[in-house]
Amino acid sequence: MTDIFFYIFSIVALAGAFGVVISRNTVNGAMCLIVTFLSMSALFVLLEAYFLAVIQVLVYAGAVMVLFLFIIMLLDVEESAARKTSVYTWAASVIAFGILIVGVVAIYSADSIRTKAESLPEASGASLKAFGYELFTTYLLPMQLTGFLLLIAMIGVIALSKKAKVDS
């Protein structure tokens, strides 16, 4: 049963990804990306990483995509005309695809990678409760520092974009 769902969601995710690359209309591309994100979160559910699945929907399919759509709207991107792909682009994509295939084969054929799922320890971030405990004990200092990261990012945006003071 799980296998069937896995294949269904994988195919949907791949189809969405193809849609992003192929579609000429940027808004359609963004919508295809949402499809990919949603089916990837379904894959996370199948792996019993529920928290990751929720985060995937909330952050990626929600916040990040809204940001993308805002930018597309603000920039008012027109439908890009069909352009001739240059030789370099072709060569680069073929090489990249080749490297990707080699990587997948290497990972799949390496003995050390194949570990029985039962023997794997439970990840500490799998459940929300364990995640919370970890976040506020082990990772307390990095979390506090992240707060400062967000603070200076916010202050920086204001400093770089607010209207210049005119001294009278």
């Binding site: 364990a130 004990t137 990772y139 990095p142 400062f148 400093a159 001294d167």
Partner: protein
């Protein structure tokens, strides 16, 4: 839920051990409060508060080192580990930050730009870099690095009314994001390799340096770990501007406001080497692969930095490229530290010498009085020595120390690195380094030549010559003290290394 484990971890959250960083963060926040509370006329006092506060923290860090009361060992569940090197890097970043605050104070004067935010972000960056130098866990390392990098993005594009500054900010944003991605991918691969229960020495928390070290010495030829190491080193090489990753340096250095350029040149490089020294220790089981890699990087970096700087006329690009070659010399020190124990001390000494010399040179640059500081060329230095002897002298000492002219601190720094390389039998690297030094003399003396000797310039009598800026017009008592300190430090360390070396050794 076994909460006892978490309780035990929470008990290691000893906030007192990171008092300097906390104090910096509080100081940064209080600057913002001061801006709201104080009347507008008194806003000029805020940068001074920032500088004095940092000096106080510096004094505190200094006393905890000398009295031998500095905290050692791990804290925060293995996130941080304190040692003497970390303490020294704390001082290094604080001194850098004090100088940059001063430079910022001068160059933000009379500009219609937000002022206080610059110092706020600068202090947060400094605190993050101080934590970075003491991180012993990849999560901590990455978060601290990102905090500092986000701050750098803002400070690089801070002169937003100048197109070059914005362009530099954008370039740095893209390059920085790319390097962070590479670093993060490397960390993820290390995590994947180190948490595989099928392998010996694996652990549940392989991002901890201690655990990862155990894993790496048990599996020194694991291909996943090797690729991870390669990517992590590449990410760090971006920060220090080592050869294949140096492309961002000239443009970003040129476009950034001068104080930010100084911060990038000194603090960013220092942070890179703080990371690299810890990581070289961690990855030493993979040394068979890592040290040849680092040696190749060092050779290419020295050659590229020096050859590319030869034809530069723009002062900031020139200093950026010379910084690339300095990174090469420091890399030799890191490689030598494999077999010579005191080589890491030599790297620290070199960094301090580089800090003092750069402080002097950049201080001269902000006092040249040119409005648009991105296109300072060698011609702008014309007759500096006649127009303002004090600045001319400071420039001579700073550049001399960067070039490695005896008896200045830069010479001793280079000498220590060379002796370490000689003891480690790295003759090939040593030969390249000597060639690099010889080549570098040419462009460093080009700077001095244009500052000290009169250059004939074409004068068109029909055309109104624009009024030339007076160098040193913005120089006040505070600035003189700062420059004198940097120059005196450079000269004293050249003759008498005891104070610093006892700190380094102790």
């Amino acid at each position: 839920m076994p909460t006892e484990i978490y309780q035990k971890i929470a008990e290691t959250n000893t906030w007192g051990a990171i008092a300097p960083e906390l104090a910096l963060a509080i100081l940064a926040l209080s600057l913002l409060v001061l801006e709201i509370v104080l009347p507008k006329v008194a806003h000029g006092v805020i940068p001074r508060v920032a500088i004095l506060g940092q000096l106080g923290i510096l004094a505190y860090v200094f006393t905890t080192t000398c009295a031998g009361t500095c905290v050692t060992g791990e804290a925060f569940g293995g996130m941080l580990s304190f040692d003497n090197t970390g303490q020294l890097f704390r001082m290094f970043f604080l001194v850098t930050s004090v100088f940059v605050s001063y430079l910022g104070m001068v160059s933000l004067e009379n500009k219609t730009l937000p002022q206080v935010e610059y110092f706020h972000i600068l202090l947060v960056i400094t605190a993050a870099l101080m934590l970075l130098a003491q991180a012993s866990h990849f999560v901590m390392l990455f978060v601290a690095l990102e905090t500092a990098t986000v701050g750098f993005y803002i400070l690089v594009s801070y002169f937003r009314n100048q197109v070059v500054s914005l362009e530099a900010g954008l370039k740095y944003l893209i390059m920085g994001a790319l390097s962070s991605t590479i670093l993060l991918f490397g960390i993820v691969l290390l995590y994947g390799a180190g948490s595989n229960p099928a392998l010996a020495g694996s652990s549940l928390d392989p991002l901890n340096f201690g655990n990862l070290g155990v894993f790496l010495s048990a599996n020194s030829s694991d291909s996943l770990a090797l690729i991870g190491m390669l990517l992590v080193i590449s990410g760090v090489a971006f920060k220090i501007g080592a050869f294949p990753f140096q492309i961002w340096i000239p443009d970003v250095y040129q476009g950034a406001p001068t104080p930010t350029t100084a911060l990038l040149a000194v603090a960013s490089k220092g942070a890179g080497f703080a990371m690299l020294m810890r990581l070289a220790d961690l990855f030493s089981p993979l040394g068979e692969w890592m040290y040849p890699l680092l040696s190749t990087l060092a050779v290419l970096t020295i050659l590229f930095g020096n050859l590319a700087a030869l034809t530069q006329r723009n002062l900031k690009r020139l200093l950026g490229l010379s910084g690339v070659s300095h990174a090469g010399f420091l890399l030799i020190g890191v490689v030598a530290a494999r077999s010579v124990e005191w080589a890491s001390t030599a790297v620290m000494f070199y960094l301090f010498a580089y800090l003092l010399a750069s402080a002097a040179v950049f201080a001269v640059m902000v006092h040249l009085g040119k409005d648009d500081d991105s296109d300072l060329t060698l011609d702008d230095l014309g007759d500096l020595a006649h127009k303002n002897g004090f600045l001319g002298m400071a420039l001579a000492v700073g550049i001399g120390s960067l070039a490695g002219i005896p008896p200045l601190a830069g010479f001793i720094g280079k000498l220590l690195i060379f002796v370490a390389a000689f003891e480690a039998e790295l003759y090939g690297l040593l030969a390249v380094a000597v060639i690099g030094v010889v080549v570098s003399i040419y462009y460093y003396f080009g700077i001095l030549k244009s500052a000290f000797f009169e250059v004939w310039r074409f004068q068109d009598d029909d055309e109104e010559t624009p009024e030339e800026p007076v160098p040193g017009a913005s120089l006040r008592f505070f600035g003189k003290v700062a420059i004198v300190l940097a120059v005196a430090g450079t000269i004293v360390l050249g003759f008498y290394q005891n104070p610093l070396s006892s700190l380094l050794g102790g």
